[in-house]
Structures are given as C-alpha cells and as structure tokens.
Symmetry: C2
Subunit: 293 residues, 2 copies
C-alpha cells in the first residue's frame, strides 16, 4: 500500500512525501517557507522534466555561483537581481500608499558613513564628467514639505564606476553626500551626469545572461535613501529615460514613476552661480514619503 504515512516516494505524491517530513520544524515560519519552496521546486522539475545531465548542469551552475562568492563579491545576490527576485522582494516589502514615491533596490554600492554636506554642495570631487544640477522637494502625501528630511545620495561617475570600485583612482566619497532639508522641504546639490554600467559579468551569472541573450547593463541612475521622523524610509533611484538601457535594466530596477527628466540647460547666469564652466544638465524631481504605519 502506497500512502504518504509510510513516507515512500512516488513521482505523483512527491510534494506531499517531502513536505510531510517538516511537521516537527523548530519554527512555523521556516516550515511554511520550506513547504512552498519544496512545492514550487517540484512543480518546476515536473514541468521542465530535466534529464540527469541537465540536472547536473543546474547543480554545477549553483556550485560555480557559490565558488564565485567571496568577501567582496556576492554572486547569489547578483543571481537574485538578474532573475527579478530582488526587485520582487523589495516591492513586497515596500508597498506604498497612493501618491507616495516608489522604492527600488538598494544595490551593493551604498556607503554608510558618507559625509553630511551643506545644501548645494558639489558631490563630484574630481571635476570629471558633465556638470549636473539636481533639485526638488521632499513632500508628504498631502503635498506638504517635510523639514529635516535626510537625503543620502550616491551615483556612478561619467564612466559608470562608483568610488568604491576605483579606490585610489576616484577620491574617497566621490559622488556621495548626505543633505538635510529646511522648512521648505527643498533639496539641491551639484554632481555630474551618471552613465550606464555593467553588473559584474565575468562569473556564472554573466554567462547565464549571455546564454539568455541578455546584456549586463544598468541604465544611468542616481541612488537616494530618504529618511524623516514619522515617515517610512524611502530607498530608490531616479533614472535617465533617454539611457540606451532604460527598457532593459539587467536587474529590473526601473519603474515608470522613477523616470526623471535630464534637461540640458544653456544659461550663463546659472552656470556662473553654480561654478560650472558652461552648459549643464538639470534634473528636477520631487519625492513623496509615506507616513510611518
């Protein structure tokens, strides 16, 4: 007699046979999560029907992904990123009320101890790239400005590299800064136009992208973490909608509401006021924070 109670394996009952073993799990949450993982894994295997060789290829892929991880490289997070899982987890954990700005992934290049700077500072410390002026308002969902909002910004340079990727080439804390709004909720600072860049693609995840006919690029963006007392912290980017990769971000970070306008400005008076040599790019983008729940 083949029943689940005797624990014997059958192809048909594989999910029940395996999940029935989890009844003594130390945590109800782990049991629930592993029941789902096992069910979805078996569903995937039953739909794909991998040969033994294909199964071994999958094992080898995971093994190589593990072997690529080290203290400064996390290939499993990269895998999660390129399969859209990181964005999905971000979305699930950051469902915002109507009118509030949307989140996107943090990414691996945030630095906790970036310096707080006077509003208006130029975060570009090496004069490389096309000048840019960024400004906007930090608002609540009723449209009122938020004072004392802390805005942590960071971006890649005009060649697509973050300072931490080019230690000794870029100055420390290049293109990073923390700003604090006044009563008017306004923020503004100077920087350079960011550029698209590839995620690390010399490992198994890069090979997978290539095999799937996908490129490894992220469209140009600025990162923001915006905090204010009484509000949910917002971790997001703004993107250049004219970037060649705007419709195909390798990590799926782009949402419609995160597109900003990057406008070329030819205004000698403003250039002089900002200390720029000539034309500059301007981005005007407001953020709306959700009240803390």
């Amino acid at each position: 007699m083949i029943t689940q109670e005797n624990g014997f394996f059958t192809e048909e009952d594989s999910v029940e046979v395996v999940t029935s073993r989890n009844s003594n799990a130390k945590s109800e949450r782990l049991k629930q999560a592993m029941d789902v993982v096992i069910r979805k894994l078996h569903e995937a295997v039953k739909e794909i029907e991998p040969s033994q060789e294909e199964w071994m290829e999958a094992i080898q892929f995971l093994t190589q992904t593990g072997a690529t991880c080290n203290d400064w490289r996390q290939e499993f997070i990269l895998l999660s990123d390129v399969l859209g899982v990181s964005m999905l987890v971000d979305a699930i954990n950051n469902r915002k009320p109507s009118g509030a700005s949307e989140s996107t992934v943090l990414g691996p290049f945030h630095v906790a101890e970036a310096p707080e700077l006077p509003m208006g500072s130029n975060i570009c410390l090496d004069q490389k790239g096309e000048d840019m002026f960024i400004q906007g308002l930090i608002l609540d969902t009723s449209g009122q400005p938020i004072a004392d909002a802390v805005i942590d910004v960071w971006q890649a340079n005009d060649e697509g590299f973050y300072d931490v990727q080019q230690k000794g080439i870029q100055p420390d804390f290049n293109l990073r800064g923390v700003f604090r709004t006044g009563k008017d909720g306004r923020y503004w600072f100077r920087a350079v136009k960011p550029k698209y860049y590839p995620i690390p693609d010399d490992g198994p995840v890069g090979q997978l992208l290539s095999d799937l006919g996908r490129h490894p690029y992220r469209p140009a963006h600025l990162h923001y973490i915006i905090k204010a007392v009484g509000f949910e912290t917002l971790t997001t980017h703004i993107f250049d909608p004219k970037d060649p990769y705007i419709n195909s971000d390798a990590v799926f970070g782009v949402k419609r509401s995160l597109l900003a306008e990057f406008v070329k400005v030819d205004d000698r008076t403003r250039s002089v006021a900002y200390g720029f040599e000539g034309d500059f790019w301007e981005v005007v983008h407001d953020f709306v924070l959700a009240e803390e729940r």
Copy 2:
C-alpha cells in the same frame, strides 16, 4: 503607460517582465527551463512574502552551501537529495513499464572499477559484520531469465560506512563486486548485513534538516546497477523493511517495490557450504529489466 514592452518592473507583472527578456536565448531548451524557473521562483516569493532579512537568510544559506562544496563534497547535490529533487529527477528519467523493477538514486559512493568476481564470492573482505547470503533472478518483463546480465553491487558495512569513506580502515573494494549471470539468469553472492547511516550533516544542509526537525539517516540498503544488452540499465537499491528509518529515508530513496525481506537463517548445512560460522541473513530478491526503447 505601464506595459511589458517597456520592460518596467511591477509586482503584478514581475514574471512577464523578467521572462520577456529571454526571447533571444541561445538555446530554446534553456529559455524554456529558465522561463519555468523564473515563474516558479516568483510564485514562491509571492506566496512566502519574505522580509528583506529572510531573503538575506536564504542568500546566506545558498552561499554557505556553496562554501561547503569542494573536490570531495557536493553540498548542492545533498540539498537536492534532502528536498526530494534528486529522487524526482530520477523518477522522471526512469519511468518503467508495468512489471519492471523500479529505480532509485545512484548516490555518491559508486566506484566504476570494482572487480568482476565469480558468482557466489564473498564481497566482505574484512570479516566484520553479520553474514548475509543474497540471491535472486534477473528477468525480462515476460518472466524469462536474462543471461549475461552484469550486476554491480555495493553497500555500507555493519557500521554504516562505505570503503571509500574509510580508506586505510576498510580494504579497497570492500563490499563491492560485479557479477555476471549465466543462462539461468541467477545471481548470488555473500556479504554482511548493511546498517543505516547518516548523510553528511555537519554543513548547512544538516543544519536545515535539524531546523526542520528531520534526522539525517538513510535506512540500510544494498546498491545495484544491472546492465544487459537489449535492456535499460537499472540503478536501484533494496532496503531492509525492518530498519528503524525505513519510513523516513533522509533522501527519499525508498519505494514500496524496493523493500526486500532480510530473513535470519539457522541452517548448519548451508552455513558450512557458505563458509559462515553460524546463523546468517538471507535476502532473496529478483529484478525485472525493461526492454530498451
């Protein structure tokens, strides 16, 4: 306008946004498999709704699983084993016609170059354990004996270790042998009663089993690979139904049809004939090979 064509991420359309990028995959099979993997992964995340911390725990688990792999240890295969995936892949690739013996997983302890021995040989080379006599027939699905069937057997010893796990302690090729049937399709050999044993449980997979309230043991079994010209190769085990872990094999290898009877025999004449000192265990088990398709 939020459409899949622009590639922008939404929680609702996450599967379509991600899988739509696979349209230029170099292989149609890879595209198909990754479409399923992505869909099932996203379904799992949407059902579990992991917090960012739980997602990071999953990333760390995979990373540690990778870090545990080396030239002689494959923790991802072990993970596949304890989640029933290895058995499922085996089942999918070894659907047998009615009446043919069922398969089970190969396991990591097969050795390709085990010696071919005269029928009846004792594969126990160190006189440790309780004597056992194993015999049976290799048949086709019409019940006719198969001549020149090659039977490759291996097993753990009475302490639950394979020779390759105890090099220098057990003799090389202890409890392994290859036998060839005559016209009558019969096989018989001498060995010792095998014992249950734990899968390697000092890594992240062992920790997962413990957290799930599961033990790491496999019930006592003998491994068989049976080959014959014109027939599908059969990779299987036979199990002792009285083993304490028979209903809870850590890797789900037990199927109803793989239970054999381990009978204690007190027969002085036979003991003397087999060169045993006293009582012995006897297993009589036939195998039915499926014709090659």
